[in-house]
Structure formats: structure tokens, C-alpha cells
Symmetry: C2
Subunit: 333 residues, 2 copies
Amino acid sequence: MNKGTASASVSLQDIEAAAERLRGVALLTPLLGNAVLDRELGARVLVKAECLQHVGAFKFRGACNFLSQLSPEERARGVVAFSSGNHAQGVAYAGHLLGVSATIVMPRDAPRAKREGTRRWGAAIRPYDRASESREDIAEQIAGETGAILVRPFDDPKIIAGQGTAGLEIVRQLEQLELTADILLAPCGGGGLLAGVSTAVRELSPATAIYGVEPEHYDDHRQSLRTGRRLKLRTRISTHCDALTAPTPGEVTWPINQANVGGFLAVSEVEVRSAIRYAFHHLKLVLEPGGAVALAAILHNKLPVRGKTVVIIASGGNIDSDLLTSCLEETSD
Amino acid sequence: MNKGTASASVSLQDIEAAAERLRGVALLTPLLGNAVLDRELGARVLVKAECLQHVGAFKFRGACNFLSQLSPEERARGVVAFSSGNHAQGVAYAGHLLGVSATIVMPRDAPRAKREGTRRWGAAIRPYDRASESREDIAEQIAGETGAILVRPFDDPKIIAGQGTAGLEIVRQLEQLELTADILLAPCGGGGLLAGVSTAVRELSPATAIYGVEPEHYDDHRQSLRTGRRLKLRTRISTHCDALTAPTPGEVTWPINQANVGGFLAVSEVEVRSAIRYAFHHLKLVLEPGGAVALAAILHNKLPVRGKTVVIIASGGNIDSDLLTSCLEETSD
């Protein structure tokens, strides 16, 4: 039984238990085929559309798995989290469902969609300045003052197990289609989604090669895998992928991902914007930049997929309308 | 057994047979819940996301059911269809899959997304001018000259049975959720989707009240139901709902819809644009105007839904980026 310590690992049983907790609460998101994508790539591509999950991102899974395991006494103390927006909304909505008050430490420049989505479910927002303040420090200060439980965005076994339920669903949905994935690609920020999904997929579908996808200047996992140790990047280059800017692999997630993941791929901002546009035109899905990196990776040939069955996770759809509009105005492809 | 005559009706068995033909070919589109929508309306709303169907609209279902029943000799003659774009793409893609050449009579002002989607699958486009030419005449001329089989957009039992497979899926998906719909709303142009879906739903879920939704100046079904006879509108007012501009209920579809449908609702252009914006912000789905009318109807209180389980069909997502952008720029709600 995981106790939430930093060194605890996550098992398939933890993910299955999380799936039981989330049954009828989280959505079973579709695994979508698309004829245009298949023809263009010469592959069988299936899109796990987590942008259709409650709050528009997979993050509700982990947050709900975590909050639903709090004791009545812990629930009464409330929770605190730091997040650029999707974990924020996930914690806020889980708190709303379970009657747990939530405070979210959120950057002042978080997308409007994410700020509104967090407020919608009754969470209090504590804004901070990304350049001058530490969100971890603020969150720990709030926890210290109020007794609120800190809900980490990825580096926690309960969060990882919750995100892993998406992987469990993928395997079962593939079984229904009588398919096995040759390749699975998931976005990677702190690595929570990837750690959970890869744990489920590696155990249940060992033939599937698993890749993480990062924005090109936030490729801390790719560099860490290359060097064999957790690197911390100090990049100051801006990215639209606000969901994927964690500077270093998680302490809990990294050993899992190091064991499960075949490699990491990086995509450029231009490639991400092109993928958002592609999702609009052909998938009819609204994707945010961080949710579009896996699609960007296969559209821009970051690995060979011809003849393969490929699952990509489209992890979130919380994009502001002005950014989507600017992506749609580009006509380079 | 239906023979395609104008007076033939469509049975549940026809729809079940169509579902067998479409198995593994059409997509089982998701029936999506959404917590934001539920809270705003005080209802349990489920969105049948046909925008995620191949070619971005339900139309592939009917086209594929029709084409797959052609004899080898008929297949060799090819098919011809007239359509503002979604039936066009449906016929084109079904033709591509089955090796049947297709010619589509399509208005010069059809959305770019629909023209490109039709060409993508190898169909020939015969453009026409909506003000001065009759698409039916052009299609019949092509059929006469080439021997091509005419694939009507809605007024054919095989087309209706194909579209009805969406209704069959809805009922089964509701069963899996242990729900029964109190209300179902479907967009209505010629009435093919509504006729097929209502046939399945009325038989399998008789307690469900079924409504068709039309653009306000194209409410020929609403007016026909009121007067008890098929009216033909001569409206010249433009609408963004290019998929729903058939001026009169179909000969085959009307008796079915008259028997099955509890009423028709009409929505304004402003309400449709607001629904497209809502789908972007909260559902993370790309909807075209004609695909958003059922959502518009519940968002704008065209019937009481509080406390009800409501299914809406989001029938298509083929919207050009400039129109979506203009919808997103409006901030009236």
C-alpha cells in the first residue's frame, strides 16, 4: 500500500483501485480513430481524447483519486495545490464533488480558460508571479498556516495512479477494437501522466513502446534519460505549453518513467501550433498546446509510424480563444 | 424489405442491419457528459458527438449503408449526389472505401472545409450556383448521362437507416450508463438523421420525448407539424447552418418524423454562434453551425430541461476557421 512517500512506486493494482474510485465520476474518454490522420501517416492512429475529460484535461483523474482518499478530518482541513491551470481545475472540481475546500496557487499569467475553470468550482486562487515567487513555498506556507493538505501536481503515487486510469482505459479500449498498440505517445511535463499510463500499459501490453513528448526547450526528461540522472533545466525561453514547463522530472515519477519509457521526443512551438490547427480541421477537437505535443510528434515525423498502430494522448483542451485564433490564422500547412 | 421507394418506411430491423454493415467501418462516436453544462442547466446532458465521426459528420453512416448495398454492376457505374458538403464527404469517403467513383453536385459557396473534405477522398465536384441552378436537375442529368446511381441526401430508406445507427448507439450507450433519456434533440434539415434516430429511440426507449431543431428561418418541419402538411419554405434569408437549409420535409422522412417527433424547436443565428462558442470553451468540440443547433436549443431555454436526462446530437464539425474565429470573438455571453 502506497503511503505517499517520495520513494513509493505505483503498481497496476493501485491504478485499478483508482479506476474503481473514479468509476461513474471521471469520464471514460473515447479512443478516437480518424481516417484523414491514418491516410496521411500510413498508420492506424488512435487518439485518447483527454481534452473531453471533466475540466478539459486528464488532471481530474489524479486529483479525484487523491482527494477521495482523504479522511473526514483531512477533508475538513481543505487542500492546497500549485498549478498553471489543469491540476488547479482538477483539484477544484474534485473538491467541489467531495465537499473539500481548495486553494490554488496559480501564476498571474495562467490562461484565462484555466483561471475561470478553477474559480467555477469554488476554489480560491492565490496568484503569484512566476519570475519572482516560488509556488511551492507559497503552497507550503498556506498548508502550514491553515492545515490544508498539499496536493502535488504529479509527484505523488496517488496522483500518478489516478492519471494511470487513462492507460487502463486505453488498453481495454484497444482490446475491444482487437488491436494492440505498437507505440504510445504521451505528453510529459512533470511526468505524472506518463508514469501512470506507462505503468498500466507496460504491464498489460508489454509489446507497446512508450514515448514521452516534451516542448523542445523543456526537454528535461529527454536530457535526463540521455545522461542517466535527473537534470534541472533553467530555461527562460517562453512556451505556449504552459502545462509542460516543470523544470525537472519528478522524484517519484522519474524512476517509473526511466524504467518504462523507450525514449523522449521534443517538438517545437511551430509544430505544436500546427498540431492544434490539425486537430481543429481534422479531429474536430479543441487542444491546448501541452495537449497537442503527442499529435505534433507524429505529424512532424519525430519517430517512424508507417504501418504501426499508434496511440497518442491528447491530454488537454484548455486554450484561450485568442491563441486558437492565432494558430488557425497560420496557413503554412 | 425496403426497396427505396418514396413511401417505404424504415424499421428498427433496417437500422440494426445497417449497424451490422457499418461495424468497424463507421466510428462508434462517444456520448459525452459535461459537468459545466450539467450544472448550468440543472440537467444531466449527454452529447452524441457525431462531429467525431469520419468526415466530421453523421452523414458517413447513411452514405456507407447505401453504397455498401449496391450490386457489383451498380458499383461500377459510380454514384452521384448533391450536397452542401457533409453528405458530399460521406459519399466520397464511402466511395473511397468501396471503390465506387463519386460525383458531387455542390454549391460554389459551400464551406471550404467541406469542399476539401470531399476532394480528399477522390470525388469529382460539379459546382453549381444556388441562386440560378437546380442541384437536383444537375444530379439527375449526370445520372442520366453516365448511369451513375443517385444517392439522395436524406429522402431514402437506406440513408435514413444508416443515420439511425446513431440512435441505436445512443440507446446502448445510455444503457451502459444505466440512464434513460427524458428528452432527445437532433438537428433537422431534410429530416434524415431525425427519422433514423427517432425510429430507433422510439422503439427502444419509448419514454423519451424526441425533438427536432431547425434554424429559425428554415423551420419547415415546425410549420409543417403545426399545419399538418408538408410545407415548402421560400426563405431567402441567409443562415450559417448550410447543412440545414432543405426547404421542405422529405417525402420519406416526413411521415416518420410526424409519427415519432414530439415537436420542433427553432434557434436563431446568434444562438447558434453562442453554442459554437460554448462547445469550444466547455465541450472542447469543434461544431459547425448546423451541428450546434440542438446545443443552442437547450442553452437558450427552448424547452424546460431542469432535472431531466437530455441527449443532444452534435451532428457535425465542418466549420471554416474564419467563421469559428468570428464566433469566438463575440463575447455577449
